[in-house]
Symmetry: C2
Subunit: 211 residues, 2 copies
DNA sequence: CTTTTTCCGTGATATATGTCACACAGACGC
DNA sequence: GCGTCTGTGTGACATATATCACGGAAAAAG
C-alpha cells in the first residue's frame, strides 16, 4: 500500500483509468533506490514487476565467464518485460538490473499484473506496449553488436546513456564501458581519446562530457 | 474458416480448451508454404499472427545496407511474438520471416489474438509463453554474437539449424550462412573446412552433413 | 557435349580488435 | 607532506576477421 496517493495519481493520470490507479495504490509497493543498487540479479526469482517513475535502470546480460552485455535502459513509466514473462513461468532471471541513478519505482505483485490484464484495458495496453518496446530495444542492440564497428557502437552507447539519464556529463569509468560492451579497457580508452581529438567530447577522470 | 477440422483438433488438443479450438477452426486461415517463401518482409504491416503446425520458419533482422542477422527459428506450435506486438501498435515490421522448409501454419486475425486473451485462459498462457520463448531466444542470440568467436558461433548456428529442421543434412550454401552471420563467405568456408578436418561434419556442394 | 553459372578452396594481405607492459596522474587515507 | 590506490594514456605486439585475387569443380543451361 502506498501512503502518498498523490504520487501514484500524478504519475499515471492520463495513462490509466481511475479504478486502476486506485488498485495500484492499494497493492503497489513504492521504493526508492540509489545509484548502483541491484533490482534483479541473475538466478533470482521474480515476484513483482517494477514500474519506473523517475530515474533510470540498466538491464544487462551477464554470462558465467564474467562477460557482460548491455541490453537496454528503462526510464520514465517503463517497465521490465522480462520480469513479466520470466515471473509467471517461475524461471530464474537471466538478467541483471541496476539503478543508474537515484530511482523511484513501484513494484506490482505478479498475480496482479496478470489479473489486471483482463480487468483494465489500459493495463493490457500498457503490458503489450512494454513488450513491444523491449523487443525493439533488443533488436536495436543486436543491430549494434552485429553490424557496427566498435567506434560506432561506442557512439551509440554514449548517445543512449545520455538519453536515459537526461544529462551531458556521464560519471563512468572506461573500465565500466568496456565491460558493458564486452571489450577491453585499453580499446575504449583509445577510442574515447580519438573522439576527444575530434571534439566530440571532453575526458577527465571518472567523467565524460559530451559536447 | 478451416475445412479439415481434424487438423486443428490434432494440433491443439491438450493445449487448448475445446471452445478455443472451435474458434480457431472458425476464424483461422490454414496455409501451406514452400521453402524460401516469405511470410513477413520488413516494412510490411502485419494483420494476422502465424502459428506453426509443422516445418520451420527463420526470423531475421535485415538492415538497409544488405546486412542480415539471424534472430531465431520457429517450429512446432510456436508463434511469432513480434507480430503480436508489432501488429496492434500498427507499426511496420522490423523483421523478415522465411520458411526454411515446407511449412504448414494457421493465421489468426490480430483482433482475435487480443480478444481471446481474456476469454480463454489457455490462450493467454500461450501468448505469454510465446513472448517468454522469444525473449530467451533473443538473449541467446545476443550472447552468441557478443561473447563467442566466429568458430563457436558457427557451431551454435549449425546446432540450432539442425534442431529446427530435425535433420542432420543441411541444404545450404556457405554464402547463405555468411549472410546470416553477417560475415563473409571465405571466412565461413575456411571455418567449415576446419570443422571437416576435425571430423565434425562432411562438406559437399550445397550440403553440409553433421556427424 | 559444350558453355555458363554458381559454389567452393586457398594463399596473400589488410584492418580491427585484443593483450601485455609500463608510466603517469589524480584521489584519498594517514 | 607521503604513500597507496584506482583510473588513464600509449607503444609494441598477437590474433581474429575481412578483403582481394585467383583457380578449379560441380551443377545447370544450351
Amino acid at each position: 500500500m502506498i501512503n502518498d496517493s498523490q504520487l501514484v495519481n500524478r504519475a499515471f493520470r492520463g495513462d490509466f483509468e481511475p479504478a486502476l490507479i486506485e488498485e495500484i495504490n492499494r497493492v503497489g509497493i513504492y521504493q526508492e533506490v540509489e545509484e548502483g543498487d541491484y533490482l534483479i540479479r541473475p538466478g533470482s526469482y521474480i515476484r513483482s514487476v517494477p514500474i519506473i517513475l523517475s530515474g533510470s535502470v540498466k538491464i544487462m546480460r551477464a554470462d558465467a565467464g564474467g562477460n557482460e552485455a548491455l541490453l537496454y535502459y528503462l526510464s520514465g513509466l517503463d517497465s521490465c518485460a522480462m520480469s513479466m514473462t520470466g515471473g509467471p513461468a517461475n524461471k530464474p532471471s537471466e538478467i541483471t538490473a541496476v539503478a543508474e541513478e537515484k530511482t523511484r519505482l513501484i513494484f506490482i505483485p505478479l498475480e496482479k499484473v496478470d489479473e489486471w490484464i483482463c480487468r483494465f484495458p489500459t493495463w493490457k495496453q500498457f503490458v503489450f506496449r512494454t513488450y513491444q518496446r523491449r523487443f525493439d530495444d533488443m533488436i536495436a542492440t543486436i543491430d549494434s553488436i552485429a553490424f557496427q564497428k566498435l567506434d560506432e557502437r561506442l557512439l551509440t552507447y554514449l548517445k543512449k546513456k545520455t538519453q536515459s539519464c537526461q544529462c551531458t556529463v556521464l560519471q563512468v569509468t572506461h573500465e565500466e564501458i568496456a565491460r558493458e560492451m564486452a571489450t577491453s579497457r585499453e580499446v575504449i580508452s583509445r577510442l574515447l581519446k580519438q573522439l576527444e581529438r575530434v571534439g566530440y567530447l571532453r575526458l577527465s577522470r571518472n567523467k565524460i562530457e559530451i559536447l
